[in-house]
Symmetry: D2
Subunit: 293 residues, 4 copies
């Protein structure tokens, strides 16, 4: 996945599958001076479900010779192409995503994202990190990022979540990453950010959904463990899966060692999922994802 040299925009489309979509989109872009540098498409019609199918398209194009600004291009595209094809669509790439990170006590997923951000591997702004513990303050502040602690006391969960949501609203975030944030979010919270909350679960879902996956993996005697990055939904650990990866283990690995081995997988899986999301490579379709890598 190379980055084009000139500033690029991305057109992200899904609609009922039918002939002519690609022709219409590429004709429109060509006539307005856009140079397509990457295009990926997929249709569920070819899952043999017989149905007409749902069509997904991601087009990345250079804007050096556009005859319109992006706002004008978008409005023209909406009326001339999107509406006739009944598209759900958006134009992306003209602003840097604002991403909030949330974590509790463990540092590995959080640090992985902060490192990649500092190394310019993640083209995002991180306006704030939110935790329910003080533990990670020094780590976060070393990156020059505001660290907010909102502890959860008995009976204060609702109030705490309201405060969290207020902070996120003020920060106008586009994406929330739960980098091992060990609190369950309310359905209301999740509904406020559809397909915009990424969670890392420390098991190879659907195996070992729920609590203590490493302990249960050890009890079951599996020979491979994994991690899963998915969009948070009302149903805990049931959201659309973005990425998974695994690591081989043996009878010699006790629960603590599984935890240690799992850290490496968790952080790289989460980092890939975040990267693909902010590059608009992930489409949600029902409870599944289409990922254009």
């Amino acid at each position: 996945m190379t980055t084009p040299s000139a500033p690029a925009l991305r057109l992200l489309i899904q609609c009922p599958d039918r002939p002519g979509i690609v022709a219409a989109v590429s004709k429109f872009l060509f006539e307005h001076g856009a140079n397509i540098v990457q295009a990926d498409q997929y249709s569920t019609a070819f899952e043999g479900d017989g149905g007409a199918g749902r069509f997904f398209l991601r087009v990345e194009f250079e804007t050096g010779h556009l005859d319109l600004d992006s706002a004008a291009l978008a409005s023209r595209f909406g009326s001339e192409v999107a509406t006739p094809f009944a598209m759900e669509w958006r134009l992306s790439g003209d602003h840097r995503p604002r991403v909030a990170l949330m974590a509790s006590r463990t540092d590995h997923c959080l640090l992985e994202l902060l490192w990649r951000w500092r190394r310019h591997e993640l083209a995002i702004d991180i306006p704030l990190v939110i935790s329910n513990h003080e533990t990670l303050r020094a780590d976060v502040e070393a990156f020059g990022i505001p660290f907010h602690v909102l502890p959860v006391m008995a009976g204060t969960k609702a109030k705490q979540e309201a405060a969290v949501r207020a902070l996120l609203k003020d920060a106008a975030v586009d994406l929330i990453v739960l980098a091992r944030y060990m609190q369950i979010l309310s359905g209301e919270f999740i509904a406020e950010y559809p397909a915009r909350i990424i969670n890392i679960h420390h098991s190879f879902l659907p195996a070992f959904a729920g609590a203590d996956p490493y302990g249960r993996a050890f009890e079951r005697g599996v020979k491979i463990i994994g991690a899963t990055a998915h969009y948070a939904t009302q149903d805990l650990d049931e959201g659309p899966i973005i990425e998974q990866d695994v690591v081989r283990v043996s009878h010699r690995d006790d629960r603590d060692h599984l935890v240690r081995l799992g850290r490496e997988v968790e952080r790289s899986v989460l980092a890939r999922a975040v990267q693909w999301h902010i590059e608009d490579r992930v489409f949600v379709h029902g409870n599944k994802t289409v990922v254009f890598r």
Copy 2:
């Protein structure tokens, strides 16, 4: 895992963990002229379970300079070493394992094993292959192995299983490999061959236990699929796991394609599990395995 040049025997031991086991075993072997070429040990005491732990030992030794035949060596070992340490143990390697293969209609797992057997990768005898369908007769007979078809009709399941068990008894098999045999075995059958029936399940257990794992993996939208070789137990798909492996998939892979990709993983996972079993590398402990690779 290299094969020693001289004929080798294997001593397979498990017992309560306590000091002196290795010293006693190696002293005994040395004094009788055995040359240890490989030794692996493991104790559950180091899973931090606090308890005394269970000790597992696999010793492979050359017999070129033994001062006793293997029968005499075994009886001396039993009285002098095994009894004092309350060992479950056996001496192995002096006869070639007899392995029965069972399959229904799909050929990939069966062919993989037959092919490895023919190229002497699997040091076993295969007295027979049993199926509930005619489909694979030509494939099997091309290897010069008797192929028995025992179909399952409505209401004949019990009778068919009795016939299967009679064939296996006559053939005096040490191991039964279910190479995609799509019939559930009775508890009685399984109890007759404890930790001596290896099954391949076409999912990454415990995910997608039961029927149509590929269809359900497709529905869930997982990004990785796998296969699991385990010992058959009364609880379907719950037996001790011997080996697992996985392969990456994407939104583009429909159910049929998952089936195709899965074949490669199924056959290699099953082949490794069988290889390790017949090399006495697999110990069962509760519902888990210790595998000395």
Copy 3:
């Protein structure tokens, strides 16, 4: 990679990169009633080489509603689209590829391809298998495929190759797969089938090019071995790489065991390369490949 339900054709294009290519191609296909079911594109311009770049496009489309037969469609495309854009191109999918397999004594790569062919995983015809030894006759003939033995004696190499080439010409093959054929082909032979001879090399190229890669891998003490499928070129083991894969090894694995472990990687790497080639997913660019998976 799902197979569309209706008969499909593929348009395979490479040309100098410039705006409007996708628009022109998709407009043409749409206007003639083709329904695009899969499209992949890539441009070397985004390797940051500054240059204009080379553009690659693979379009798969359903033909149910075409207003022309494929020959007419091709000639119209040639004059109206391909020529103006200076495209190298071809229309594919209207005939089943004819593939010749060549092997010497080892069976694993050959059997893998024959199995997949018989299982309809490879949509090809196999008019013949050619070997320089009798060893594999029974295996091949069991699949009902003609097996030709053309031995290489001292001083007969040129004559033997001429005979091989005559057989291949008579069989009108589209692709030649060297499934562990241990004879070096002449430059003339290779030039006759540009990017149409696939070879499997039993190492992770460029490591251990040349003879006895497993022996040298063992000597070097690598911890991972691999296999490489590439198009044969004049420079031995230097041709464009189509696919590679690896397997982990340890100090316990002697040369023979590396050979055994390598077999599994060799056959799956070769099978994937052949599959992608016959599905027209592989483009050659200089000494590299673009693979649209």
Copy 4:
């Protein structure tokens, strides 16, 4: 690999292979109250080289009930067991390894080690970090570790290396880790720390030894890249390999992207190699390693 609860020592042995070694060692340990918690052995005799072979043994034992202190145990072992068997041996585990890290400008390998050290995954002391650039000072000092910059100017290389070696001598380090230190060490320097300098090379050796491996991997069009941790020797990139790992790439990945993907592999490969070294799991034999994992 679990850590025993009680303080443990390790006996590390290599000697000519012959019968009785394990018996003698385990008898000695048992008689002095040592409880063996892990033992691994290997003999090159079983590489089919016919020769007598070299024997390697790693024994980890609990010391709770030792009848001697470790010094006395060692001297007794030396005279009673090691000398008769002509063993090269040492007793390890009674002091915490002192490890110096060296890096130039890139942070990923260095941060990985510092971070694992801080979360107590690496049971080492890090008395200092040495660099030839200021770049990483803040990162290192944030961990509370002294950071020494010794720049290399034209013609000052020898003087700089002398200063580096003086620092290392003062710090009495047991191991030096070159975590992307981009200066070639003199043969004299390397000879001072035999099998005690670990280097990470950013390719899958022996492929792409030398400079710019990612650029050359991109030019060759490989489909997989890797990293290699090895002991530094006089011959650049030719030292005994401790660990390697790989990651899949595609035609879409330009050189910069290979560098990015490679970072993840480099840091995990180096971290594993360091972990195994400080746990005394790595034996050097000729130009190869025996790694007891």
